[in-house]
């Protein structure tokens, strides 16, 4: 069964002054796959993410996202367009929820583009245009479904900042999903979670992938999560790719083991 490429990263490089954080990294993330990017600290994983999601402009290389006949060159798109037009959503290493806004509001903001359209750039909305009201109801319903999925419906009207850490992480993922992405980039989702919570999160990601058919790009240190759910693993070290393949191959790869020497992960 040939896999359909979703994201093609080719010779991606990122230089900051004299430091090369990412050095000609190439890999492909396939549609409906969970691709993990792993590597020791400082390997350049989050930098790759930041290049993909428009927070850094790559010094060199190309990032091509292609699906359903549409193609997007992410290295040329302006930051917010990557989420809005290309459909690449992300979560952050340090959870970045809108802490002072409610759980529900976080999910409604994520549906901003659609709601703006339906409200005719807010003017229609100002005067109670019916299509806007319908769109808002639909947005709330979509949010409710997601909240049901993660068990936060009862806390929908609470401030997002008051949720326990694990719930915040899940909410952030759900918020990213509310933008209707093609590719979901998740940055260390298991950080700070205990093994039980990590396993639950791993199942959650697989469930999302199965139900919505999106591609997931995952940075993670927790090897049980990585080995458990990844279809494909890319290993970085000192900004370069040192391995690329199925999880089972990577586990036994001597270069990978050497890179991690001294760092024990189950």
């Amino acid at each position: 069964m040939s896999k359909e490429a979703l994201l093609a990263v080719e010779d991606l490089s990122m230089r900051f002054g004299g430091v090369t954080a990412v050095d000609e990294v190439s890999f492909t993330a396939y549609a409906r796959d969970i691709t993990a990017i792993i590597g020791p600290n400082g390997a350049g994983k989050t930098t790759v993410f930041n290049c993909l999601t428009g927070f850094y402009r790559p010094s060199a290389g190309s990032l091509v996202l292609a699906q359903d006949g549409k193609q997007f060159r992410l290295e040329t798109l302006q930051g917010y367009r990557i989420a809005r037009d290309a459909g690449v959503a992300r979560t952050f290493q340090n959870v970045r929820l809108f802490a002072g806004m409610t759980v529900l509001e976080n999910l409604i903001v994520a549906q901003h583009a659609e709601l703006t359209r339906a409200s005719r750039y807010n003017f229609g909305g100002l005067f109670g245009l019916r299509s806007h009201r319908a769109a808002e109801r639909a947005a709330i319903e979509r949010a409710r479904e997601w909240l049901d999925l993660i068990g936060l419906t009862a806390r929908a009207n609470e401030a997002a900042g008051n949720l326990p850490y694990g719930a915040q992480r899940k909410l952030e993922i759900v918020r990213a999903m509310c933008t209707g992405p093609r590719l979901l980039c998740v940055d260390e989702p298991a950080a700070g979670l205990n093994p039980h919570e990590s396993a639950e999160l791993a199942r959650f990601l697989v469930a999302i992938r199965d139900r919505f058919g999106i591609g997931i790009l995952l940075i993670e240190h927790d090897m049980s999560v990585v080995m458990g759910i990844s279809d494909h693993v890319v290993v970085l070290n000192y900004g370069q790719k040192i391995a690329d393949g199925a999880a089972s191959e990577i586990r036994r790869d001597p270069t990978v083991i050497a890179a991690y020497l001294g760092e024990e992960e189950a």
Binding site: Y80, L104, L115, S119, N122, L126, A156, A159
Partner: protein
């Protein structure tokens, strides 16, 4: 805590107060020449007050410390009393001119209060909702006032013609301010807006051929009642309001009319600002305030969000400027200095950034304070400066720190 450390703390406070008070309060320079008088009694009072104050503060048990109580950040549930209080306030405002204790001065004062409230709501959009600290808001106020005054002076345009135009011009100037500050962070953005405000004031003050320089423009017309001026006499061929309704002219009528126009505008702006919070752009403003990076990651365009905040808040400032000019009958640059911007900021901060009602109360208090004795007026700004510091420490979200969510999930 034992008495020895408490006394030591209090003594330290007294020493600091002494050092602060001695040079400036202890010696008062004369207004002219090199004379000065000593006022060491003030220094002693300051030191004593500090000693007593610190001692008393130290005696308040820990659990009553206000700062710790306010530390939790929550989106508090919607305050049920708000709509009722609001309705009562509106009713009072509508009836004000015809109440028995009313007078021309009172209605005029109420008009001033309304203008400040509108300015507060306007600034609240950009500071309270979008979290962009604008220290030059008086510039938009000035744009509105001056464009009306100058258009009337040079081209004979009327109040009603200029109201929408002035708002539009102010909105444009809002965008012009917004463009350079798009990529600036909080502190830098604030300073640049301050610079912008000063630039506008300096230009208005010095471009005499066009703006009238320091003297300003002093023939600003009043609003007409469907084209009929409210006046004792009118130019040839123009019917006055009084002629039409067969009423003797009374200055109170003019003041009342302007008051009701302002009240109507204020109600519209109130409706608008409440409504816009529930629209995508309003939520986007609040999201931007919370975390701009997360906004970008969700596909929100920070540029349009920021520019819309600047434009809309500027537009409201512009409207307020037109009312200001119409009420005073003249405009001059000194009404639009940094002190004015700071005052409006004080209204938003003290009233509670994001709270409609809080801003109303703060605006009314601020407008009426000078009336309670001329002496108090001197202390007004001193009080507001201290209050701003205190509010940030004690209740950063202002006195009315409820943040009502813009949308709720009700049980199915």
């Amino acid at each position: 805590m034992g008495w020895a450390p408490r006394l030591k703390d209090a003594a330290l406070a007294a020493l600091v107060a002494f050092a602060l008070a001695l040079p400036l309060a202890g010696f008062q320079t004369a207004d002219t020449g090199q004379g000065f008088t000593t006022r060491f009694d003030w220094v002693a009072i300051a030191a004593g007050a500090a000693f007593a104050g610190k001692l008393l503060l130290g005696l308040v048990p820990r659990r009553f410390h206000l700062r710790q109580r306010a530390a939790r950040r929550t989106a508090l549930p919607e305050n049920q009393a708000m709509p009722i209080a609001g309705a009562a306030l509106v009713a009072f405002a509508v009836l004000l001119p015809v109440l028995p204790f009313s007078s021309r001065a009172l209605v005029d004062l109420a008009t001033v209060a309304l203008i400040y409230v509108m300015l507060g709501w306007g600034l609240n959009i950009v500071v309270g909702l979008a979290g962009l600290l604008n220290l030059g808001y008086a510039a938009f106020y000035a744009v509105g006032a001056y464009s009306f005054a100058l258009a009337a002076h040079w081209y004979g345009l009327t109040f009603w013609e200029m109201l929408p135009l002035a708002g539009l011009l102010a909105a444009v100037s809002g965008i012009l301010l917004g463009l350079p500050v798009l990529r600036l962070r909080g502190d830098y953005l604030a300073i640049v807006t301050l610079g912008f405000g000063e630039i506008v004031r300096i230009v208005l003050n010095n471009w005499s051929p066009v703006t009238g320089g320091p003297n300003g423009v002093n023939d600003v017309p009043r609003p007409t009642f469907f084209g009929m001026p409210i006046a004792a006499r009118a130019p040839e061929g123009v019917t006055t309001f009084n002629d039409f309704f067969h009423l003797a002219y009374n200055p109170m009528q003019r003041v009342m009319f302007l008051y009701y126009v302002c009240l109507a505008a204020a109600l519209v702006i109130n409706w608008f600002s409440l409504r816009i919070r529930r629209l995508p752009v309003g939520r986007a403003w609040e999201a931007l305030r919370e975390d701009e990076i997360a906004c970008r990651a969700l596909g929100l365009n920070p540029t349009t969000i920021k520019l819309s905040a600047f434009a809309i808040s500027a537009m409201i400032g512009g409207f307020a400027g037109v009312f200001f000019a119409a009420r005073a009958g003249f405009v001059s640059p000194e009404s639009f200095n940094f002190q004015e911007s700071a005052t409006i900021l004080a209204i938003v901060v003290l009233g509670g950034m994001g709270s409609q009602l809080g801003i109303v109360l703060a605006g009314v208090v601020l407008a009426t304070l000078p009336e309670f004795g001329r002496d108090l007026a001197q202390f007004r700004m001193l009080f507001f400066g201290a209050a701003m510091v205190a509010i940030m420490i004690w209740r950063p979200r202002g006195f009315f720190s409820t943040r009502a969510p813009s949308v709720r999930l009700d049980p199915p």
